[in-house]
Amino acid sequence: MNICVLIKPVADPASIRWDYREQRLDFMTPGFNRPDLHALQWACDYKQTHAARITIVTVVDPDQEIDVKPLLKYPVDDCIIIKCANLSRYRHQTALPLVQALKDQAFDLILSGSQSEDTHSGVTPAVLAEFLGIPYFSEVYQIDPASDHIWQVKRKSGRDRVQTFRIDLPAVIGGDWVDRTETVCSPVFRGLPPGKGIGQIYGRMFGEGT
């Protein structure tokens, strides 16, 4: 199973405060989107019992410093950082450099959180799936393989019901996994496997968006 996990760098919403004097948000502690980390945690759990290869992909502005060490504590095989200008200005188009980077790679499963903790848009994974011509399914809290290329996913419907669906892979799945990062995983820094590096790709924005 070739799994890609999309990880968005975000400022930790718990630390953010409004600075009334400067009239702007302050205390922007850099971190990673927790729903994406839950997806990564899920992929790592899966890898413990199944043959799987995990690639993490993140998109950042060229001038944005990002410390990927916390991500490399997870047993990932590859890490791709896509540098792309004007990301914060045209943020709905984060999917476009992702499409460029992922379209020729044979991922079976692309995972992420359903929304990011900063903008709560929930757009990137859906747009990515649409451009790649593969299905997208969001707000999933449980996924299990039903067969080699069909996976079963569950999501909540209303207050007290669960719906089960089957999805043909490859697919993009946006998770609404419960917060397990602190309880299950205490990763240690392993670095990437020999011969692997942190790839950097320079992407470019185009088209229209918000």
Partner: protein, 337 residues
């Protein structure tokens, strides 16, 4: 000139969702050019009589099979079909942002080369005669700690604009209208997609979170040393209601810590809360502010919980709960026949 279309939210494909009236209110607000308002209803069995009463100038409705209706792929195809049939020019399309409609709206925005703004909490038009395309959309960011105002770029005025509205702001009085156009658009089964609905089940009361349940039972010190909880568990099963409780109940080990309700526990917003042997301290009441209806069972008629409840039963829970169980049982057997 942009025509405003509402993608009318429907529950389970068969019942108009109350969010429809909230969406309609927003649509009226941004329809500053007073063009005919259109409703697109993709359903799997809404009553026929409803079409003529919907509060739109134009209603276009498509019926899908019940199982297809649950999958965004089928909605995308149905929308494309409607769009093709009515030859809609550039428009503003409003959706409710639940997962099904959110996926549909985002995918359509890609297919139509347009743009999408999701989870909006309000839409502002700058002044009464401004063009609808210049509206700004208010959204919550950083878990609601701040708001942002975003707008569509105007470089491509012919593209469609999609906005999904947060369900939290979609409320309104039921409205009626007399659409001048009511058109059924026949669409034979969409091509089988790569996502298929399998089944739906109810989450049992033991797994259901107290913050998500429609009905929650709360227990307090009144139960301590008073024998078995068997009747309360039976009530929980019948109502599919998770059991939470007061801080004291938590400290006495009657409930797990994460099921404490109140200022130092969870805040619940259930439709019904049944408080058993709970006095109703201010800290506990803090956690049930969002509850619609409270039923209280307490042996002390002066307990403060009776000030907050809709139905109060004065008596020992050992006597009251078996009677309540019997009443619910007979009621459910009546509605089952």
């Amino acid at each position: 000139m942009r025509k405003v279309f509402c993608y009318v939210p429907v529950v389970d494909g068969t019942v108009l969702n109350e969010h429809a009236w909230g969406l309609m209110k927003i649509a009226n607000k941004i329809n500053t050019e007073r063009l005919p308002l259109a409703g697109i209803v993709v359903h799997s069995g809404l009553e026929k009589e409803q079409w003529g009463e919907l509060p739109f100038d134009e209603v276009y409705h498509v019926r899908l099979e019940a199982e297809q209706w649950k999958v965004a792929d089928a909605h995308v195809q149905a929308f494309e079909h409607v769009h093709h049939e009515i030859g809609a020019a550039q428009g503003i399309y409003l959706f409710a942002s639940n997962p099904l409609y959110h996926e549909t709206a985002v995918r359509l925005s890609v297919r139509y080369g347009g743009a999408v703004i999701t989870h909006a909490v309000d839409i502002h038009t700058p002044n009464s005669d401004a063009a609808a395309s210049s509206f700004t959309v208010k959204r919550e960011i950083y878990r609601g700690k701040a708001h942002e105002y975003v707008t569509f770029r105007s470089s491509n005025p012919t593209s469609h604009q999609f906005v999904t509205m947060s369900p939290a702001v979609l409320y309104g009085e039921r409205m009626q209208g007399q659409p001048s156009v009511v058109r059924e658009i026949h669409y034979d089964n969409p091509t089988a997609g790569k996502v298929r609905f399998v089944s739906e089940s109810v989450i049992g009361w033991e797994e259901l979170k107290i913050t998500e349940a429609r009905c929650v039972i709360g227990v307090g010190r009144g139960l301590s040393g008073a024998g078995s909880m068997a009747d309360i568990v039976r009530l929980a099963e019948l109502l599919n209601a998770p059991i939470g409780g007061s801080k004291v109940a938590d400290e006495l080990g009657l409930i797990p810590r994460d099921r404490r309700i109140g200022s130092s526990g969870s805040a619940i917003d259930a439709d019904i809360y049944i408080a058993i042997g709970i006095s109703g301290s201010s800290q506990h009441l803090e956690g049930i502010k969002g509850v619609k209806r409270v039923i209280a069972v307490n042996s002390d008629p002066s307990a403060p919980i009776f000030q907050r409840c809709d139905i109060g039963i004065v008596g020992k829970f050992q006597d009251v709960i078996p009677a309540l169980v019997a009443a619910v049982q007979s009621e459910s057997s009546v509605s089952a026949t």
